[in-house]
């Protein structure tokens, strides 16, 4: 791999839910404008970890964190961090498509409006650009006033991606973005994600190992709150260093 810059740098990150320690001192660098996939069995901490990258864990009661998460060299858990700005920079897409029960247009315009954009022309432009980037413009351009909940799940998920893109983030976190979708919609999202990496740094949690192997540049394997191995995806899937990685990927686990 050619020289790469790290967009996110995590150092010795520990996280507790009450007395339970979910993450045990994780170190990880997320390369800029690449796709990094997190794989691992349920409960291994990958979703918990991805949420720490834009402080979604702040919303969880009894959640305590130690260590450092740097975005462009600045600690996002530092006292000076503006959470709204952080989440503008680091957008998120979830497992279940979760559009607001509003029109498609208002879903996309929601973020820009909260950040103070009011002019109709400007919003129109953002909506069109975001929907195009999310590869759904052609499918919905004539129905922008339709309720976003009335379209298919695969389309809803792309609306959610468009909504995340509307505030021009730099990082896109995706927590199992296709696990609720059929293979055709999944293929569309994968295609889309691989296009988006030209402009965005993408971190993706997936239960689908084939998805990780198909789309990602780097893969990190999580187990019991530890990162067992993090390497170039080609290496992870052809000749991983750790036996646990090998066992998990080849389905010989447990």
């Amino acid at each position: 791999m050619a020289t790469k810059t790290s967009k996110i740098k995590v150092q010795d990150l520990k996280l507790w839910y009450g007395d339970f320690q979910a993450l045990h001192g994780l170190d990880l660098e997320v390369p800029e404008k690449k796709i990094t996939a997190f794989i691992g069995p349920s409960g291994c901490g990958k979703s918990t970890f991805i949420k720490t990258l834009n402080r979604m864990n702040d919303l969880v009661e009894n959640c305590r964190i130690e260590g450092k998460v740097e975005l462009d060299g600045k600690d996002i858990y530092g006292s000076k961090t503006d959470i709204n700005q952080l989440r503008k920079k680091v957008g998120m897409v979830f497992q279940q498509p979760n559009p607001f029960p509003k029109s498609i247009y208002d879903n996309i315009a929601y973020g820009p409006r909260t950040h103070g954009i009011k002019k109709k022309a400007e919003l129109d432009e953002i909506v069109e650009r975001s929907l195009k980037q999310a590869a759904i413009w052609d499918e919905v351009k004539d129905y922008l006033d339709r309720n976003a909940l009335s379209i298919s799940g695969g389309q809803q998920q792309r609306i959610c991606i468009a909504r995340a893109l509307a505030v021009e983030p730099e990082v896109l976190l995706m927590d199992e973005p296709t696990s609720a979708l059929d293979p055709i919609s999944t293929a569309k999202i994968e295609e889309l994600v691989s296009q988006l990496k030209q402009d965005y740094t993408i971190v993706m949690v997936t239960h689908n190992m084939q998805q990780a192997s198909r789309v990602s540049d780097e893969t990190a394997f999580f187990l019991n709150g530890h990162i067992i191995e993090h390497a170039d995806t080609r290496k992870i899937f052809t000749n991983p260093d750790q036996e646990e990685t090998e066992n998990y990927i080849s389905g010989r686990f447990g």
């Binding site: 293929a187 994600v193 995806t233 080609r234 899937f237 052809t238």
Partner: protein, 225 residues
């Protein structure tokens, strides 16, 4: 994702074709050098074999990664298997060109025989045509053409047989020819083997199109002992 995957498959295809062109060139040059006693040309073939080996290495690496990362099925799988197997055949063809070139360099003032050298040159022309045709059949995924090409292998076999007979006859007449004629016989054997590898590649083209692994030309009979 499919788009990137298709591009990688397309690249495999192109790279295999490039490798094939290089191998054909090496074979052509090695035979030309052999009959023209051109040691410089023969050295060039040996030097360029590294590139052919690198091609094979790169293709294998790319195929292994595609299998691991894309879990190919159906046409994609057959395409990858075809490249993997046929590139090994191409590489062996290149090695035979190197062997012919080495005997060109080895020869030091041995007595020669223009008639036999003419026969080797003819066999070289045949093998050149077969090599070009098989690459064309590969590029077009034309299994019918591949079957046709494999049928021509018997011509190369019989030419090699004739060269051997001629060598023996000439050696009987003139014992000074023994050293040179031994190299003639070896060269004809290499050319004959190259024909066998071309047949193998034809078989992989047939596999790609039909999914059937079949032998197009077998030597495992008691004919032509």
């Amino acid at each position: 994702m499919r788009r990137a995957y298709d591009e990688e498959l397309e690249q495999l295809h192109r790279k295999f074709y490039q490798m094939g062109c290089k191998v054909n060139e090496a074979i052509y040059k090695s035979i030309k050098a052999f009959v023209k006693h051109d040691k410089e040309l023969a050295k060039g073939v040996i030097d360029e074999d590294k590139e052919i080996n690198q091609f094979e290495h790169d293709l294998e690496q790319a195929c292994i990664e595609l299998i691991a990362l894309q879990q190919p099925v159906t046409t994609d799988l057959r395409k990858i298997v075809t490249v993997m197997k046929a590139s090994a055949d191409l590489e062996r063809m290149g090695d035979h060109a190197v062997s012919i070139s080495k005997s060109t360099i080895r020869v030091k003032g041995n007595k020669r025989n223009t008639m036999i050298e003419g026969m080797i040159s003819d066999a070289g022309e045949k093998i050149k045509k077969m090599g070009e045709d098989v690459l064309k059949a590969y590029v077009e995924y034309d299994s019918e053409k591949a079957v046709e090409i494999a049928k021509y292998d018997y011509l190369v076999d019989s030419l090699a047989h004739d060269i051997k007979e001629a060598c023996i006859a000439e050696m009987k007449k003139d014992p000074e020819l023994v050293l040179g004629a031994t190299d003639y016989m070896m060269a004809s054997t290499y050319i004959e083997r190259i024909g066998d590898y071309i047949t193998n590649i034809s078989e992989w083209i047939v596999y790609f199109e039909t999914g059937e692994i079949q032998e197009l030309n077998t030597h495992n009979s008691y004919e032509n002992l």
